[in-house]
């Protein structure tokens, strides 16, 4: 939608420039129901799951992204859009390679701090598009999940289901306009135009 632009970094999605967003618009992956991996093998699935949990870790009642199925959501998306599979698989393999190079362990076996450092190293290596893709999909999976929305409501009062149920609000109190109603008209007159009167 129009309101989801990253502040200060927004790139227009347009037909003349390659962009993963141009590929996934018709890939509908409903959130909130469990699903298994269908594209990724177990090793890569584990790496991706740890990746998503590093992007959005747990906090209080809020789960981490991996535990609400963000990796499975990404897998389901690439299942529907085969053209982006190579980018994802290459990125997962690169993250795994960096983990083994720097820690001699698999990415999913690293600590949260180590994983974050590895992802920053990956990001500095150049494949920002792949990182953005995984990141955006993870945010989608997380903030569309009923468990997360319920936890947000409990903490902040933001009613995530109001778009489904509606909510009463007191009608507008027109007496608040008392001052403004008394202000002089504020539109310009031109010859042959409307009179300035109320």
């Amino acid at each position: 939608m129009a309101y989801d632009r990253k502040q200060g970094q927004h790139q227009v999605a347009q037909s003349s420039r390659p962009d993963y967003r141009l590929e996934v618009g018709r890939a509908e992956v409903p959130l909130g129901s469990p699903r298994d991996f269908v594209v990724l093998d177990p090793a890569r699935a584990a790496t991706l799951k740890a990746w998503t949990s590093t992007l959005i870790p747990a906090a209080g009642r809020r789960p981490d992204a991996g535990s609400v199925g963000a990796a499975e959501y990404i897998d389901a998306t690439v299942h529907l859009v085969p053209s982006i599979r190579p980018v994802l698989i290459h990125a997962i393999d690169e993250v795994e390679r960096l983990a083994r190079t720097t820690t001699r362990r698999g990415f999913s076996e690293c600590s949260a701090e180590e994983r974050e450092a590895i992802l920053r190293q990956f990001l500095s290596g150049g494949d920002r598009d792949a990182f953005s893709m995984v990141s955006d999909f993870t945010y989608e999976a997380y903030y569309g999940h009923p468990k997360v929305l319920a936890a947000i409501e409990a903490k902040s009062g933001w009613r995530g289901n109001a778009t489904m149920t509606g909510s009463p609000i007191a009608p507008f109190d027109t007496s608040q306009l008392e001052r403004v109603r008394e202000l002089p008209p504020r539109y310009r007159i031109f010859e042959g135009g409307p009179e300035v009167k109320r």
Binding site: M1, D4, G8, V12, A27, P57, A162, R186, Y187, F190
Partner: protein, 539 residues
């Protein structure tokens, strides 16, 4: 090639303008056919029918057609120093199906920009000529609001009361009162009480993600039911390839691909193009012939030129206390036209509105400001339900260099060209934009915000695509005349946002639909002129 039975009027495009024209003419007894390249929206698939509505809004419902890629969408590229992030829909109801409902009348001075301020262009008529059609349209649509705003001429009461403003609106009211500025409840194309068979809005918010309740006044719900009842022959999945011109220089109708990809001809005494600010020039520029080698109705060379999109931004204030930012219609709070008219004390001409919205929803907010990693929740928690936003919209003056062209490098599903837009904000727009954003900070700070962030001026928020086939009295400097009739083709009308000579500084839907009704009446009143020499006659 198959040819349809002739109609009196052929309307191409079923959006805000096309729907109004079809309804008005059919109501008077004309035989009307409408060709729409999209389909009816499946209301069960509206994002807000589902808990994961925000995600659906980034895919199936994405406002950018390059992302959404519905079968009816065509490719759009955006070039220029300030590229446009184009938002539009190709479906029954047009781009209104994804609009927020902000519904403004233009001001009298908006029709005389050149005469008053020496820039842009004058409209070929004045506010008072359009005012009756604003009123008719407001009744059809069921607009919510209050008459009496001192920033506009006197007018009749509106059909429905204003939307509840909630806590975000109240904070803005307090700010405007503190500053001593003009403000008024924002008019909305939303039924705030049951109206003509549609239910009252129940404040689900986020109107652009579809309104399952049916209270948002989109053209598929307002004009189309009556139009169909009055016999309009609406053909969906009908992709028009060209306007066909006869030997006498008059429009015969349109050649289009039907839902099976079969080319067909649809003929009528009068043809109306209502495909929007990009679609209309696309179709006219595709309609070349020996007598119109540069595109139809393009003797002025202005088809596709003078693209206007408004100087737009958002400013968002952060408040200590929760603001109930989830509660209520997205745009249904209060607005100010304090800075709408040209003021010699400022360093730019023309002006802007500031329109109160509510808070950003979780996914939108997270994508905007929450970094990944250990700092994610801290950034998110600071802002969720503690922010309110102002939508900022200022006048974008017409410039010939801001334009729409055919893009033969990117084709649609029928092998027809996409479009490429070129856009750059001029110096006046930049100065206006900076002042607009500065005043938005001032309002939010007066409302009690402890900090304010804004989105700057680029990329352009491309909701309003205007001016690419503009009206005027002079065929050398305009494409259509004062009644939306093409200067070059006597029975061809261009009636949508592309016909607007200037953009004003407000959301354009109300003006587009009022213009469409006026155009329909003109077609009806002069129907005898279109009968001569035609097998089809308007009764």
């Amino acid at each position: 090639m198959s040819r349809e039975p002739d109609a009196d009027v052929l309307v191409i495009g079923s959006g805000a303008a096309g729907a109004a024209i079809c309804s008005r003419l059919a109501g008077r007894g004309a035989r009307v056919r409408c060709l729409e390249q999209g389909e009816w929206v499946d209301r069960a698939r509206l994002p807000k029918s589902h808990p994961d509505w925000e995600v659906r809004g980034r895919r199936y419902w994405a406002a950018n057609p390059n992302v959404r890629r519905w079968p009816a969408d065509y490719p759009v590229s955006s070039e220029g120093q300030d590229p446009i992030d184009v938002y539009m829909y190709n479906a029954v109801g047009g781009s209104q199906i994804g609009f927020a409902g902000n519904y403004w009348r233009m001001a009298p001075s908006d029709f005389k920009v050149r005469s008053l301020d020496g820039v842009g262009a004058d409209w070929p008529f004045d506010y008072e000529e359009l005012a009756p059609y604003y009123a008719i349209n407001e009744a059809e649509v069921g607009v919510a609001g209050l008459a009496g705003d001192p920033c506009g001429p006197p007018r009749e009461p509106l059909p429905n009361p204003p939307a509840p403003i909630g806590r975000p609106g109240q904070l803005l009211v307090n700010a405007y009162e503190k500053l001593g500025w003009y403000w008024w409840p924002t008019e909305q194309a939303i039924t705030t009480r049951p109206y003509r068979g549609r239910p009252a809005c129940d404040n689900r918010g986020w109107c652009t993600f579809g309104c399952p309740q049916g209270s948002l006044s989109t053209a598929d719900l307002t004009y189309w039911p009556g139009a169909l009842k009055n016999g309009v022959d609406l053909r969906t999945q009908a992709r028009v390839r060209e306007i066909v011109i006869g030997e006498d220089g008059r429009a015969l109708g349109a050649r289009y691909y039907d839902q099976d990809g079969v080319v067909r001809d649809a003929r009528a005494a009068v043809t109306v193009v209502a495909c929007g600010g990009l679609g209309t020039p696309l179709l006219l520029l595709m309609s070349t012939s020996p007598s119109h080698p540069d595109g139809l109705a393009n003797s002025s060379g202005l088809v596709g030129k003078n693209l206007m999109v408004h100087v737009q931004s958002f400013a968002t204030g952060l408040f200590e206390e929760p603001v109930d930012g989830w509660n209520g219609t997205w745009g249904g709070t209060v607005s100010t036209r304090q800075f709408y008219e040209t003021d010699p004390a400022r360093d730019y001409l023309r002006g802007f509105i500031m329109s109160g919205c509510r808070g950003w929803s979780p996914l939108n907010l997270a994508l905007q400001i929450a970094p990944w990693g250990s700092g994610h929740h801290r950034a998110f928690d600071e802002r969720i339900n503690h922010e309110i936003s102002l939508y900022l919209c200022g006048e974008d003056l017409p410039e010939e260099s801001n334009r729409v062209e055919l893009d033969w490098d990117h084709l649609d599903g029928f092998g027809m060209p996409g479009v490429v837009t070129h856009h750059e904000l001029n110096d006046n727009s930049r100065r206006l934009g900076r002042d607009m954003i500065g005043h938005a900070h001032q309002v939010l700070e007066a409302a009690g915000a402890r900090s304010v962030r804004d989105f700057g001026l680029a990329p352009i928020w491309g909701w309003h695509l205007l001016g690419t086939a503009r009206m005027g009295d002079d065929p050398r400097t305009s494409v259509a005349d004062r009644f939306n009739r093409a200067h070059d083709v006597p029975n061809l009308f261009i009636a949508d946002g592309s016909s607007m000579p200037t953009s004003a500084g407000v959301n354009p839907s109300a003006t587009i639909q009022a213009l469409a009704l006026r155009c329909a009446d003109q077609i009806w009143e002069s129907r005898r002129d279109y009968d001569r020499g035609r097998s089809s006659q308007i009764r």
